[in-house]
Every structure is written in structure tokens, then in C-alpha cells.
């Protein structure tokens, strides 16, 4: 597959009163042609900085970026016509109508003005096209932003939180739109916090944390490689459950939950060890099933942003990923 977008070693630092802050710390990303690629990261992890840098709005301190084979920002003017983008919240001049806004953009970008009604129809704003943008809800502004990105029939579509402010129907429409665009051969880079959506829509993902890539690949690969080593253990009826848990704990197992009829082992990288240890004590396992992780679990684990009881996590605060397992 051809890479439509490549980023390697991207660095951006900001100097402030509190010293130097690394927004991007050697970030890498590859987006293959024709894919819907999810770009995930907690608040302040560097997602928007990456997109702004890629689109020439921010100057990087170091690193290399290419879009459609052209090095950017040096050759950005040559590829800008093939890249549709919305960055962060939709920003438009409030006193213009959606139609005027898009028509002016079409004029500025040398795009056929006949595209304007077509994209307004596509995002569901046809009937409100002549209303001033300042009368729009956040979701409608979001639709307008997507329309502006689609106006030039891009080969690469970069969308930063496109579902932000959309109602459930709108989110589903957006999902369908992404799928249709990808099916038409367009490559879509999608930044979002709605991980369920990403898991449904995206072919591949990149996860960023503290300005660095912490995971990348197809959704299934990322899930598989970072899947939880948690297993659910059910014993024969009438067996002393707390006794069994104590045996495993003594051997180093982490037991995150103990229920009435089962318990889970959190670091069971070798589940056979569980059956062996319990069988030695004449305790027999009736069910031993892996607890499958979803993208949200992987995200929280990789970025260290899972909520902790009694603690208020601060933006920029990430925990180190737990390394290693039990039973290996």
C-alpha cells in the first residue's frame, strides 16, 4: 500500500514562563491510501498540534512530514488542493451564511462553485444554507466544517473531532459518510475521542500520548497486541472461592475482582498456570475465558489516563504503562 501521509520524528516545543514544554516529542505516523485512520490521544497529548503542523499552521522544531509524497510544509501549496481539513472546533465568520462561506472558500481555492450546493446537501445543511452561521448550533457548524473540507474533493481528508456536537443521528450519518468516502477511494484521517466510533469506522489507528506514538497499526492488531491479559475463572459449585484466590495471590496473581461465582486474574499471561496451581490443591476450574479488551481499554492503558478512585487526574498527567505479566 502507498502511504498518503508520513510523519517521522516530529518535534515541537513551546517556551513559556514555566519553562520548555514538549508538545511533540519525536512523533511518527503513517496513513496508508484508501484507509480511514483513527488518530487517538488524550487531551493535550499533541493531536491538534500534529494536525496544525501538518497543515502548515505551526512550524515544527524538527522532523519530516510528507503528504501524497510531497514534503510539507515546503510543498504544501502544491498539495493543499488535494487535502481537505478541519482543525479543532469549526471556526467561521458568523455573519456570513453557509452558502457565502463556502462560495468564498471555493473562490479562494479555485474550486468550481457548483460544488457548494452539492456539499451542503451531503452534510444536510441544504435547507439552512442561507441562514447566518452565527445562528447555527455546534453540530451544524461541525457539518459546515465537514462540507468545507469536502468542497475541493480531496484525496486526503483530515477531520479533527468531526462528531463533536453532533446528535446521535448526526454521529451515525457522519459514520456512514466516512465509510462512503473511504469506499470512494478517499483517505480519511480522523481524530476523535469517541473510541467506539473509531473502532467501528477505522481500518487503522495511531495512539499518541505525551507527544509520542504509543501504538499504531490496524485496529485488530492494536487490540491484539495490547489486549488485556485478564482471564475470568469459574470453579466447580461449592468450592471455596476465597481459598482459591488466596492460593493464586500467594503465587503473585493480581485479582481485580472477586464475585459470588467467579473471579478474574488480571495478569494471567499464561492461564495454564492457574489451572496447574489450583489442580495441585484439588480445586478444578470449570471455566477459564479471556476477558477481551476494546479500544477504550487499550487507549486508557496505553495513555495511562484511566480514572483512579479518589484521584483527580490533571491534563498532561500520564502514567507509565504497566510492563510485564505473571505466570510467564
Amino acid at each position: 500500500m502507498t502511504a498518503v501521509l508520513e510523519i517521522s520524528g516530529l518535534r515541537k516545543t513551546y517556551r513559556g514562563r514555566k519553562g520548555v514544554r514538549k508538545a511533540l516529542d519525536g512523533f511518527d505516523m503513517v496513513v496508508e491510501a484508501g484507509q480511514v485512520h483513527g488518530f487517538l490521544g488524550p487531551n493535550g497529548s499533541g493531536k491538534t498540534t500534529t494536525l496544525r503542523t501538518l497543515l502548515g499552521l505551526i512550524k515544527p522544531n524538527d522532523g519530516r512530514m510528507t503528504i501524497l509524497g510531497q514534503e510539507v510544509p515546503r510543498h504544501l501549496p502544491q498539495v493543499a488542493g488535494l487535502v481537505g481539513a478541519i482543525v479543532e472546533s469549526p471556526q467561521f465568520f458568523g455573519n456570513f451564511s453557509a452558502e457565502t462561506t463556502l462560495s468564498l472558500l471555493a473562490d479562494a481555492g479555485g474550486v468550481n462553485p457548483h460544488r457548494v450546493p452539492a456539499v451542503l446537501e451531503l452534510v444536510g445543511l441544504r435547507d439552512r444554507a442561507k441562514d447566518r452561521v452565527k445562528t447555527y448550533s455546534l453540530g451544524m457548524k461541525q457539518r459546515l466544517a465537514v462540507a468545507s473540507a469536502l468542497l475541493k474533493e480531496p484525496k486526503l481528508l483530515i477531520l479533527d473531532e468531526p462528531a463533536n456536537g453532533l446528535d446521535p443521528g448526526g454521529i451515525r450519518e457522519m459514520r456512514t459518510l466516512m465509510a462512503d468516502l473511504a469506499a470512494s477511494g478517499m483517505t480519511v484521517l480522523l481524530s476523535s475521542h469517541i473510541l467506539g466510533e473509531i473502532q467501528l469506522i477505522c481500518d487503522s489507528v495511531t495512539i499518541i500520548s505525551a507527544g509520542r506514538r504509543v501504538a499504531a497499526g490496524s485496529v485488530s492488531e492494536v487490540l491484539a497486541s495490547h489486549t488485556s491479559a485478564t482471564v475470568k475463572v469459574r470453579l466447580e459449585p461449592g468450592v471455596d472461592l476465597p481459598g482459591a484466590v488466596a492460593i493464586l495471590r500467594a503465587a503473585g496473581a493480581v485479582i481485580p475482582s472477586l464475585e459470588k461465582d467467579h473471579f478474574t486474574v488480571g495478569n494471567a499471561t499464561n492461564p495454564a498456570q492457574i489451572t496447574k496451581l489450583l489442580a495441585e490443591k484439588q480445586i478444578y476450574v470449570s471455566e477459564l475465558t479471556p476477558v477481551s479488551a476494546d479500544l477504550e481499554d487499550v487507549f486508557l492503558k496505553l495513555t495511562g489516563t484511566a480514572p483512579v478512585d479518589g484521584a483527580n487526574r490533571q491534563v498532561d498527567q500520564v502514567a507509565a504503562e504497566t510492563q510485564g505479566g505473571w505466570g510467564q
Binding site: 471556526q91 465568520f93 472558500l105 479555485g110
Partner: protein, 332 residues
């Protein structure tokens, strides 16, 4: 070219632009109406009425003077003992032209109207220029535009060009209408006599300098708002210049007895530009007394060429700074 066309459309479509154009046209219209109302043409009827008024006043005064003389003859002590010094009206003091409404003399009065027009247009050009780019920065429209045209200098320069050409068109069109309007006022409420080619040339040159003032004001407003990325930056800067530099600096310079203190104040430079020159007197210099001319203090003449060069330099610095900042700064 498409970007230039888009920016011209954007500028014309803005409600703020339209509002200020309507406002300035309204103010100009009121000024013209006020002028037309204040002046009147000299017609034979008006001349006859003025002559009658003058004669009536003269006769009343003659009658009054005779009564006073009679009183004086009866009681000279009340009039200082002599009645020879009593005032006697003379017909020459009661000229008919003093009783006639003044006509609007195009040759005499229109140059001042050109300057009024230029000052108003310059103010509006500054505000429109500042808002044109300031609102774009503030609303995020500029960022959107740069996603479409990632050539920062080209985008800002095109925006500025669109503004300057638009202001040029507005000034020329309204200037022509202004001239036509006052020609009509002079025709119907005054006189258009003595309009030689030289007078027209002089008015034309004043108009050209006025046009320059309008374009400079627009470019400076645009530049400051772009540096500050907000319309308020330009308006704030004007307020700061007015309060700190004009009033504050004026007082400080006077207190410090700086030579030619008024030469540091902007209005004198604008006056010099529009009236071809203006003189600034050094009030703090020792008096150079002469028997024939009295007290003479040193005079510094600000010529229109000097004022023009200063305006050009200031505009270049501000627009250059706007270009430099858009090239260097991150757009967040």
C-alpha cells in the same frame, strides 16, 4: 486572481463594511445638505431686498441720530458739553451686500470640503481596514483560509491589495459624487465663477493627497489589526496614540520645553499633507525682537513632501511588521 476576487467579495459582503459605507454617505449627505441650507444665491430679488433692508436701517439710524442731537442741544451736560462729537450715520456703512445671504463660492470653499471628505473617508478606511483582517483573525476565518491557501504572505498581501483597491474605488466614486454635489450647490446656492484650469488642478491635487490619506489610513488599520490579530488591536492603538501620544505627549513636551513641540503631534502632519504645508512655531524659544516686525520666534515648516514621506515610512513599517509576524508566528 481567484483569491483576490474572493477577498474583494468578502470585503463587500461584510455587514460592517456596508454599515460604515452607509454611515459615511449619510454624514457626507448631511454636510452637503447643511451647506446647501446655509448659503443662498444672489438673485435680483435678493439684491433688491438687501438694498431695501440697508436703506431702512440707514434711515432708522439717521432718525435716531437726529433725536440724540435734539436731546443733546436741550441738555448738553449729559453729552459731555459738546454736541459736535455725536455719531452721524453715513450711507457707506449700510451696504446692500452686508444684508445679502452669502453665496457658496465653489472656488473659495470647496478645497475645505475636499479636506473634510478626505478626513472622514480616512477614518472609515482605518476602521474598515482593521475590521476586515481583525475579524478574520478573531473568528478563525484566517486559519480556514490558510488551510486552503497555505501561503501566508500571499494571502495577507492579497487581502491588503483587495482592501486598497476597494478603498481606492470607494474614494474615487464618492469623491466624484462629492464634487458633483458641491458643484450643484454652488450652481443653485452660490457661484462657480473664477474656476480656471489652475484652480481645478489645485483641487485635483488636494483630492489626490486626500486619496493618499485614505489609503494610508486603511493600510495602517489593516496592519495593526493583523499584528494584534483582532480589530480591537487597531482601535485600541488609535485610542492609545490619541490619549498617550497626542494629549499626554503634548503636555509632556510643553512642560519639557521641547523645541517645536507641536511638530510631534499627528494633526499637524495631516494638516501639512492636506494644505501643502503648515508652520509650527517654537513657543519656548527666546523672542527675537525686531522694531519693524515685533517678536519673532523660530518657525519650522512641515511640507507636504515631508509629511508624505513620514506617512509612507510609518505605513511601510506597520505593514512590514504585519507581514513579518504572519510569516513567523504559529497560527493557533
Amino acid at each position: 486572481m481567484s483569491l483576490y476576487r474572493a477577498e474583494t467579495r468578502r470585503l463587500s459582503k461584510r455587514r460592517f463594511t456596508r454599515l460604515f459605507v452607509v454611515l459615511v454617505l449619510l454624514v457626507l449627505g448631511l454636510l452637503a445638505a447643511g451647506t446647501a441650507y446655509s448659503y443662498q444665491k444672489v438673485t435680483p430679488a435678493a439684491l433688491a431686498a438687501a438694498q431695501a433692508d440697508a436703506e431702512r436701517d440707514f434711515q432708522e439710524q439717521v432718525k435716531f441720530a437726529e433725536q440724540e442731537k435734539e436731546r443733546c442741544v436741550q441738555a448738553p451736560a449729559e453729552f459731555g458739553g459738546s454736541c459736535d462729537e455725536l455719531w452721524v450715520p453715513v450711507r457707506e456703512d449700510y451696504r446692500a451686500e452686508n444684508y445679502m445671504p452669502s453665496p457658496f463660492d465653489f472656488r473659495e470653499s470647496f478645497p475645505d470640503m475636499v479636506i473634510t471628505f478626505a478626513a472622514l473617508l480616512a477614518l472609515v478606511a482605518f476602521i474598515i481596514g482593521a475590521s476586515f483582517v481583525g475579524a478574520e483573525w478573531n473568528s478563525g476565518g484566517m486559519m480556514n483560509l490558510l488551510l486552503w491557501r497555505p501561503q501566508r504572505l500571499q494571502v495577507l498581501a492579497t487581502k491588503l491589495s483587495a482592501l486598497i483597491v476597494w478603498l481606492f474605488g470607494l474614494t474615487v466614486l464618492t469623491g466624484a459624487a462629492w464634487t458633483g454635489l458641491f458643484w450643484l450647490i454652488a450652481t443653485f446656492r452660490g457661484t462657480t465663477a473664477r474656476m480656471t484650469p489652475g484652480v481645478w488642478q489645485s483641487i485635483g491635487l488636494t483630492g489626490l493627497r486626500g486619496l493618499g490619506l485614505v489609503l494610508v489610513a486603511g493600510a495602517i488599520g489593516f496592519g495593526i489589526a493583523s499584528i494584534g490579530r483582532h480589530t480591537a488591536a487597531a482601535l485600541g492603538a488609535v485610542l492609545a496614540v490619541a490619549v498617550v501620544f497626542q494629549f499626554g505627549l503634548g503636555v509632556v513636551l510643553e512642560l519639557a520645553k521641547v523645541k517645536f513641540a507641536q511638530a510631534y503631534l499627528l494633526p499637524y502632519w495631516i494638516l501639512a499633507w492636506m494644505y501643502k504645508s503648515t508652520e509650527v512655531i517654537d513657543d519656548n524659544a527666546p523672542c527675537d525682537f525686531s522694531v519693524t516686525t515685533g517678536c519673532e520666534q523660530p518657525v519650522f515648516t512641515i511640507t507636504w513632501q515631508l509629511a508624505g514621506a513620514v506617512f509612507l515610512l510609518v505605513t511601510t513599517i506597520i505593514v512590514g511588521a504585519a507581514m513579518w509576524t504572519i510569516r513567523r508566528r504559529d497560527i493557533t
